[in-house]
């Protein structure tokens, strides 16, 4: 009468389709939630998905229902103090007491609908139809790292790589092959000798002749070299090119007095986006934070975003430092270098041409991409004008202005749009 069926190994994720449908339908809201979520994260905090909350009213499924009001008589359990005829103060909403607590059927859930996005979904939403600039080039053309792999055996190589088993096997085969005609004759002679010995005994010329022949043949066979240079086999190792999976990202930011918290937070979101973007293409990413006013310093992330200095601005100091770090730590071609500079555009006038020059000769040639964003509500400053001259010359240089935080995403897309490749 009973059937027990083990369905545990049946297809799972029957709801995957429904989940996708849900994501597609609420793409707008989810995307908004994702960009909000970014604010609270550290630049490198990417290993997690994200908890997304969407206002529940956006995804309500409406039904005809009774609203509040009118006459309602409800039965409750657990009476501990009332007798009939009592009058009770109407409890406030959410009080949970008697009266119309949450048992009513309004279905007005004003809470947010919260769910978990996986990391992949999270990033996909972010980067949607973006692609890394020059990525194709990096992966296909700029191969800089090799890995040696075994690739069978070769006939020549260094003694250290001799494969003994293979070599001996080869030698054995060669010996057998070269000795084959003599061996055949040897077996035949031995056979005849045995017959003669059986028929005629120890004596006789024929026997003598056979014995000599056998001795000659044996000497011949033994004369075949035991091992020949021809037999030697070497382990073969080939170098396979590996696409570079490391990248370094330089965050350069002006922290002079004119950069207020709001501007810094805008810059942070830009850096974050860049970092997120890079993690999609590279396994290992280092981030170097350089902040500057009149002098530049390499700092940790916290210091980078959260301390404020006063005074003037000399941008070239940061670029010089970047160049130094680049030379010391990230030279040699194993690193894909990305630079991002954020500033409000203020610079000491005479310094700006120097900045351009530094970028032009010392930095841009090594970079996959260098992006400059100017966060200012006003007119472009002199740094912008100098940089603008670079714009056409280097394909890997891009610059944009951001006025409000809302500009970041479009600007980011502009910087890294697919056509750049």
């Amino acid at each position: 009468m009973v059937r027990i069926i083990d369905r545990r190994f049946d297809s799972k994720n029957k709801s995957a389709v429904n989940r996708q449908r849900f994501m597609r339908r609420f793409r707008q809201q989810i995307r908004r939630a994702v960009s909000d979520a970014i604010q609270g994260r550290s630049i490198r905090d990417l290993d997690n998905g994200e908890q997304i909350s969407i206002p529940a009213r956006d995804l309500a499924e409406p039904h005809f229902q009774h609203g509040r009001g009118g006459v309602r008589e409800q039965v409750y359990a657990g009476n501990d103090q009332f007798t009939s005829g009592d009058h009770v103060r109407r409890p406030l909403d959410g009080d949970g007491g008697g009266g119309q607590g949450k048992a009513s059927n309004e279905g007005e859930h004003e809470d947010d609908f919260v769910f978990q996005l996986s990391r992949e979904e999270f990033l996909d939403l972010f980067f949607d139809d973006l692609a890394l600039p020059n990525l194709v080039r990096t992966q296909l053309a700029r191969i800089t790292e090799y890995k040696t792999r075994r690739a069978g055996f070769t006939a020549d190589g260094t003694p250290a790589n001799i494969n003994i088993v293979r070599s001996m096997r080869g030698a054995l085969g060669r010996r057998l092959a070269l000795g084959a005609p003599w061996s055949a004759r040897l077996r035949e002679a031995q056979h005849q000798l045995d017959e003669l010995l059986a028929a005629k005994g120890e004596h006789g010329e024929e026997i003598q002749a056979l014995r000599e022949e056998i001795a000659r043949l044996r000497a011949r066979i033994e004369g075949i070299p035991f091992i020949d240079s021809f037999d030697l086999r070497y382990n073969n190792r080939v170098k396979t090119p590996l696409p570079t999976t490391s990248a370094v990202m330089f965050c350069v930011m002006d922290v002079s007095g004119s950069m207020d918290e709001e501007k810094k937070s805008t810059a942070k979101r830009f850096f974050m986006l860049l970092y997120l973007f890079l993690t999609r293409s590279y396994e290992h990413i280092e981030v170097v934070f350089i902040r500057h006013h009149t002098v530049a310093r390499e700092v940790n992330e916290n210091e980078f975003f959260h301390s404020r200095e006063s005074g003037g601005t000399v941008v070239s100091s940061a670029l010089k430092l970047m160049h130094e770090i680049l030379r010391e730590r990230y030279a040699g071609g194993q690193w894909n270098i990305y630079g991002a500079q954020a500033s409000d555009g203020d610079n000491w006038d005479n310094d700006s041409p120097l900045c351009r020059q530094l970028l032009d000769t010392d930095i841009l040639p090594w970079c996959q991409h260098f992006a400059y964003i100017e966060i200012t509500p006003g007119e472009p400053q002199n740094l912008w004008r100098e940089y603008a001259r670079l714009d056409g010359e280097h394909a890997n240089f891009a610059m944009q202005r951001i006025r409000t935080p809302a500009d970041i995403y479009p600007v980011f897309r502009e910087l890294f749009k697919k056509t750049l490749v």
Partner: protein, 511 residues
């Protein structure tokens, strides 16, 4: 006694289950159930993982269902709750089909599997098979086939007309789902073969009918308007989806079929919404009774009983009204208490019981049970069987909330004067007719702008909720022309509540 004659070999104990152990439990439970005379569909026990359980949750407990984002939303909610450990999954899902499918979760301990088998595969199963609502409204033999048909049909529509189009249509249908059931008419039986065979025929016929209805318009327009005040439909129609399916002027045949699918599924779930207390109470009563019987026979270990009783107690706990866990009356608690009480009234009646239940006091409890299970739904079951003792035990009291008064009024409590009122109120609380707004199709303006008018009969001056406008938009999408909703209060005053104007005809021809 039989029990003494049988030498009991105890069932496997411990927490790890094996298929063999489940089989042994099932055999013993089946035997005990048969001794109590439970009439059941054949049982099919399926072992699934937690993930699959969540999948099943998401598609409203059915093994197959069409795709829709709302199921995805449901899935995400469940998943979140489960992952964070805020919520355990239900021990079981049982499907009203023939054979009756009971899902057991792989994470359950052996005790839980035993409990679930007794609860779902014998308790719910016998209820599905016996209760008149299920017998009338659902067809256990055909439901899986029908769902399969529905899923394939909707997938086909998605391919042909685009996911978006189908999704919008389903959204609209879902919004009206609660009003897509026949409460009184008996639905025809579902059958896959028939359904397929007749579907095409129906499409053509329906379209013909609809066109016919609208085609006559210009002809009549020329005449004076002899029956101008005649309404269509002549009698108000309570099944909104049915009305849309049959009469919406602009729907394509496939859209009518989709409306029909949603309507059929709503109808299938209709009995479940009306028998929650009875059904859960019944299943809980039987798992409790069956497992205790097995224990008395010496088949179950003490450890099994302890674990079983612990989860049983959790299930039937009724938090008091002022507890932060209070979420209304717990149907398991109320149902279990009532069924237990009915048995007590039969076996061990007091004077009070004789006064209140002269028919059943001292009767054969199995017969009383069978009768009660077959012929009632929550509303009538409570009105008939809720005893003063249960009201006292649960300390039930009724609160009258009139928005024209400043305070709440405790209208009745569990005392001599209050029993009848509490019982009537609780029964009313389970009356779907008063729980949900009463809305009917009132009129279609056949001669004019083809607008559709619904009427809401106000009950106890209760207004409609905030979602009303949204629902009306959905209805307008289905109907294709202006729709409006009127409300009639107790004095017969009609008031226009909502109107969605939609005079633009679709560009596609509706011929």
């Amino acid at each position: 006694m039989k029990r003494a004659a049988r030498k009991p070999t105890p069932l496997p104990a411990g927490s790890e289950w094996t298929p063999e152990a489940i089989d042994q439990y099932n055999t013993e439970i089946a035997r005990a159930a048969a001794e109590f005379g439970l009439d059941i569909y054949p049982v099919q026990v399926e072992i699934i993982t937690a993930e699959q359980m969540m999948d099943a949750y998401a598609s409203v407990g059915m093994p197959v269902n069409y795709h829709h984002w709302s199921f995805g939303k449901h899935f995400l909610t469940t998943e979140k709750g489960y992952r964070r450990g805020q919520m355990g999954l239900a021990y079981e899902i049982v499907i009203n089909s023939n054979p009756c499918i009971a899902y057991l979760m792989e994470e359950n301990t052996l005790t839980m599997q035993g409990l679930v088998i007794a609860h779902a595969a014998y308790g719910h199963n016998s209820f599905f098979k016996g209760n008149y609502l299920f017998r009338t409204w659902t067809n256990a033999d055909a439901i899986i086939d029908y769902l399969l048909f529905a899923r394939n049909y909707i997938a086909e529509c998605e391919e042909r007309y685009g996911e978006e189009e189908v999704e919008l249509l389903l959204d609209s249908c879902h919004a009206l789902m609660n009003l897509g059931v026949d409460r009184y008419k008996r639905p025809p039986k579902l059958s896959l073969a028939k359904e397929k065979l007749r579907q095409r025929e129906r499409e053509e016929y329906l379209q013909g009918q609809v066109n016919e209805l609208w085609r006559t318009l210009p002809v009549h327009e020329a005449h004076a308007d002899p029956g101008g005040s005649r309404r269509f439909p002549p009698e108000p129609e309570e099944n909104l989806l049915y009305f849309v399916e049959k009469h919406a002027p602009l729907l394509e045949p496939w859209q009518r079929e989709v409306v029909r699918i949603v309507r059929k599924i709503a109808q299938y779930f209709f009995p479940q919404r009306q028998t929650q207390v009875m059904n859960e109470g019944w299943a809980t009563f039987w798992h409790y009774t069956l497992l205790n019987r097995l224990y008395d026979e010496g088949l179950l270990a003490d450890s099994f009983m302890l674990e079983f009783l612990q989860s049983h107690t959790n299930v039937v706990y009724q938090p008091p009204y002022n507890s932060r866990w209070y979420g209304g009356i717990n149907p398991y608690a109320l149902g279990f208490a009532m069924w237990q009480d009915i048995r007590r009234i039969c076996e061990d009646p007091t004077d009070e019981d004789r006064e209140w239940f002269p028919d059943i006091a001292g009767g054969n409890w199995l017969e009383v049970f069978d009768f009660a299970m077959r012929n009632f739904k929550d509303e009538s079951f409570i009105a008939q069987y809720l005893s003063p003792k249960v009201m006292r035990d649960l300390r039930l009291f009724a609160v009258l909330d009139d928005d024209q008064e400043d305070t709440l009024h405790i209208s009745a409590i569990h005392d001599q004067d209050g029993y009848r009122r509490v019982r009537a109120m609780l029964s009313e609380q389970y009356n779907l007719g008063s729980r949900e707004p009463y809305i009917q199709v009132w009129n279609v303006d056949l001669r004019g702008d083809r607008s559709l008018t619904l009427r809401h009969q106000q009950y106890q001056r209760r207004p409609l909720g905030d979602a009303t406008d949204e629902v009306m938009k959905h209805l307008a999408r289905l109907w294709g022309f202006t729709v409006r909703l009127e409300s009639v209060d107790a004095d017969g005053q009609v008031e226009l509540l909502a109107e969605v104007r939609n005079e633009k005809r679709r560009s596609a021809s509706d011929d």
